[in-house]
Amino acid sequence: MIPRFDAGDRVLVLDLGKSGHVRTPFYVRRHSGVVLHRCGAFLNPEDLAIGNVAGPVVPLYRVGFAMTDLWKDYRGLPADMLCIELYDHWLNPVEAAVRAD
């Protein structure tokens, strides 16, 4: 799978409502952030957890979120940031999300 995003792209984290071994914590779902770095492509932990080791691999990105966006009562600097790894299928381009609204 070709990575859909690159550093600097703005992305929205989806709330896929999946159960099982998902690696996308609730606190970043439905928030938008900026791709910091392409990490490469990895087997999807959601598949690995149920014994599916056949792939395919999924692009993984490090995404940065403003702390003040994640937490409305955040105490700190506006520049404080949370960096987390997110798999491609949990992300949408922000532009597309805006149009869908």
């Binding site: 914590p25 990895f42 105490r75 949370l82």
Partner: protein, 220 residues
């Protein structure tokens, strides 16, 4: 009630109030640990059937626990004295530390550098992901639910509880190592350390500085 709580209830009777944290290991009055009894029984069967040699499990635990903070300290000290190494380390952590003969078992090592404007620290909200091949096993607090929840929610309050108050204007970057990457914080080289050699520098570098809940203090 979750499965985990269910198991916990069976481990001992609740005739006392818990004081806000859950024990990492639940023992009965005789010192038995439920999980250990199961593991011992399984291991005895595996040995009896010739599937595992006596001592093999112990040797494997020893192998897993052999890496320690000294490896991380060696990496940081080299980065402090060798700018080219530092550049390579920040670009590709795993390849750079291989130059020092240190193998990283995890997929990738992301090294994040503190500087005058930025302080990095690392947590794993979902479980206990940690750069074990270069720092050893994580401290108990790192895998506690309180640290995991609060590091991403109120990082500055957490740092203050570790005794670290950042200078005005320094931004905080919290790294949630929730998937395939592992993170090492490259602390700032302390004032007063200019005359020290690489080995002496390595002696200044602690585990907590490489997780990012502390900094390397000035050298007297």
């Amino acid at each position: 009630m979750s499965d985990q709580e269910h198991t916990h209830d069976h481990a001992h009777s609740h005739d006392h109030a818990h004081d806000g944290h859950e024990p990492l290991v639940v023992e009965d009055e005789a010192g038995n640990i439920e999980g250990q009894i199961l593991v011992d029984a399984l291991q005895t069967l595996l040995v009896e059937r010739g599937l595992v040699f006596p001592g093999e499990v112990r040797r494997e635990i020893e192998r897993i626990e052999a890496p320690g903070v000294h490896l991380g300290a060696k990496i940081v000290a080299r980065a402090w004295v060798d700018d080219d190494f530092r550049t390579r380390l920040l670009a590709d952590g795993k390849s750079a530390v291989a130059e020092l003969g240190i193998g990283v078992g995890e997929a990738q090592l992301i090294v994040v550098a503190n500087d005058a404007d930025t302080h990095n620290f690392v947590c794993c909200t979902l479980c206990s992901c940690y750069p074990r091949s270069i720092l050893g096993q994580p401290p108990a607090w790192y895998i506690s639910k309180a640290y995991r929840a609060r590091a991403v929610r109120e990082p500055r309050a957490v740092l203050e509880e570790f005794g670290l108050v950042l200078p005005d204007g320094v931004r905080v970057l919290v790294h949630d190592s929730n998937a395939d990457m592992r993170y090492l914080v490259l602390p700032q080289r302390p004032k007063g350390s200019e005359g020290l050699g690489e080995d002496q520098l390595a002696g200044l570098i602690t585990r907590d500085c490489m997780i990012g809940v502390s900094v390397v203090g000035p050298v007297a």
